[in-house]
Amino acid sequence: MFHWLEKHPFFFAVGVFVVIAFAGLIEIVPNFAQASRPVIGTKPVTLLEQAGRDVYIKNSCNACHSQLIRPFKAETDRYGHYSLSGEYAYDRPFLWGSKRTGPDLMRVGNYRTTEWHENHMKDPKSVMPSSIMPGYPWMFKNSADIDTAYATQLTNAQFFGVPYNKPVPMKDGSTAVVKMADSVAGAHAMALAEAKEITSKMKDQNVKDAVARGEIPEIVALIAYLNSMK
């Protein structure tokens, strides 16, 4: 048998590959599957947060901001607990980023608020005089794309098994259910209800009026997303 292999270098190479790949497979895959299971307390994003996530991607916030806290004391002191792979279980795509022109945003929801984001996103220099982050005034006018966010949610739920409408375990032992609408109209109503809660803490009259009319400016969705990052 080995004689045969020696005479057929191609199949010999295939055989070597299979043996080594198998060793890799049993070493790497189970570990990886274990580590990427959702961490207790990780929830899927709600509809409005998903729309905000799309705004985040659309404006390339990830070009300047990472979402990955490394296990170094200097980082955990500043941003909070280091990131665990299971915390990204529902991120599609993940937004780790590779450059920090601005600070990490993985847990920004813990130490920044709706009111602050409103001032900061409109004109970063008004809060941080030396900031080099650009302002995003158009987000206060453009509407968020709720249809796409809803489609993303549906895809995530149906093809990737993201647990919408199902209980997910929380850190305190309770369970939480993130609801997903069952129709486009229902989705809009749901997003609007979420948006109203955010705008009740905002100052910008145009944004408040828009939400009262049933529109959802991008900034509201973005803030919902930023607040959810904990």
């Binding site: 170094f72 130490y111 608020t113 709706t114 009111e115 602050w116 809060v127």
Partner: protein
């Protein structure tokens, strides 16, 4: 002299020449620097030794005759001599195996490393260092530490002048509390765990004037807000009278608060600042998030810093 030596001399000379030119014509040259000179000496030695070794082996390849006893096996007519392994190599080979076993089992066990383990060690070490260095600092040192923590954690909202960008983004920390905040508290009550536990202050529908026996009025609110914001100084003002009749029962006649009843609203104190950091705060300006991941010493330092800001008032 045969061709081989000639080539050796030519190449050596060329390389030494190149070294001389590159170094000599560079700005500053050797610069009289001992390290540079050592490096050049090393380079010269390297060129010469390399040439000797190369010549030796090329000569050997040219002239060597194979000799010795052939092994029985032959692979595609390629034979092998039965020469013993050179002694030095054998020793090194066995030595490497022993070292390898030591390395994998004792020196650096395969399972001994984890990123998180390394992180935990780092944290422990740094915390111990912090503890040792800062456990007993006080006074100005404490204020300085508070300021440096402030500049990292709080400046985004409270601003470089600690005035909260004119109270647009956060509270002005150069004073105990602003007039607009006081009015808001009287109108809406307050439930921010300022005493460390749940101990709300009633809103205006629960604040009675002991003198008139009626609920506090708009005019009285304006007066008392001004009086408190000014630091409860003007004892003859209308506000002082309202304060004595409405607020003093809880906040004390001097506004310094009473344990378990109401907080100090005349000045900042350490515990008050720490309670704000631990529980966050909601008010007329907005919401301050809890900043409870600071360590106790840092919180104490921040309290000292906040107190130092409003000292002048």
């Amino acid at each position: 002299m045969n061709k081989l030596y000639l080539w050796g001399i030519i190449i050596t000379a060329a390389m030494l020449g190149a070294t001389y030119v590159t170094v000599g014509y560079q700005k500053g040259g050797l610069n009289g620097d001992i390290v540079n000179m050592l490096a050049i000496a090393g380079a010269v030695a390297l060129v010469i030794i390399t040439m000797f070794v190369v010549i030796k082996y090329v000569r050997q390849m040219q002239t060597d005759q194979a000799s010795g006893e052939l092994a029985d096996e032959s692979w595609d007519n390629i034979g092998e001599y039965k020469n013993p392994v050179p002694f030095g190599w054998a020793i090194m080979f066995i030595g490497t195996m022993i070292w390898g076993m030591w390395y994998f089992t004792i020196g650096y066990p395969v399972n001994a490393f984890s990123q998180i383990g390394q992180y935990n060690e780092e944290v422990k070490e740094k915390d111990a260092e912090f503890e040792k260095k800062y456990a007993n600092i006080k006074g100005e040192q404490l204020v300085n530490m508070g300021e440096s923590v402030y500049l990292v954690e709080c400046v985004a909202c409270h601003g470089l002048n600690a005035d909260g960008n004119n109270e647009v983004d956060a509270a002005d920390l150069n004073q105990r509390i602003s007039e607009k905040s006081i009015k808001y508290v009287i109108n809406h009550g307050s439930n921010n765990k300022l005493l460390g536990t749940e101990m709300p202050m009633p809103d205006r529908n629960g604040l009675f004037n002991a003198e008139t026996g009626a609920l506090i009025t708009d005019k009285e609110i304006d007066a008392v807000a001004k009086y408190v914001a000014d630091g409860l100084k003007d004892a003859n003002s209308a506000g002082a009278k309202v304060f004595a009749n409405v607020c003093a029962a809880c906040h004390g006649p001097d506004g310094k608060g009473m344990a378990y009843v109401a907080p100090d609203i005349a000045t900042w104190n350490k515990q008050l600042v720490i309670n704000v950091l631990d529980n966050g705060k909601k008010g007329v300006i907005g919401k301050m998030p809890a900043m409870d991941r600071l360590n106790p010493k840092q919180k104490e330092a921040i309290a000292a810093y906040v107190m130092s800001l409003s000292k002048g008032e």
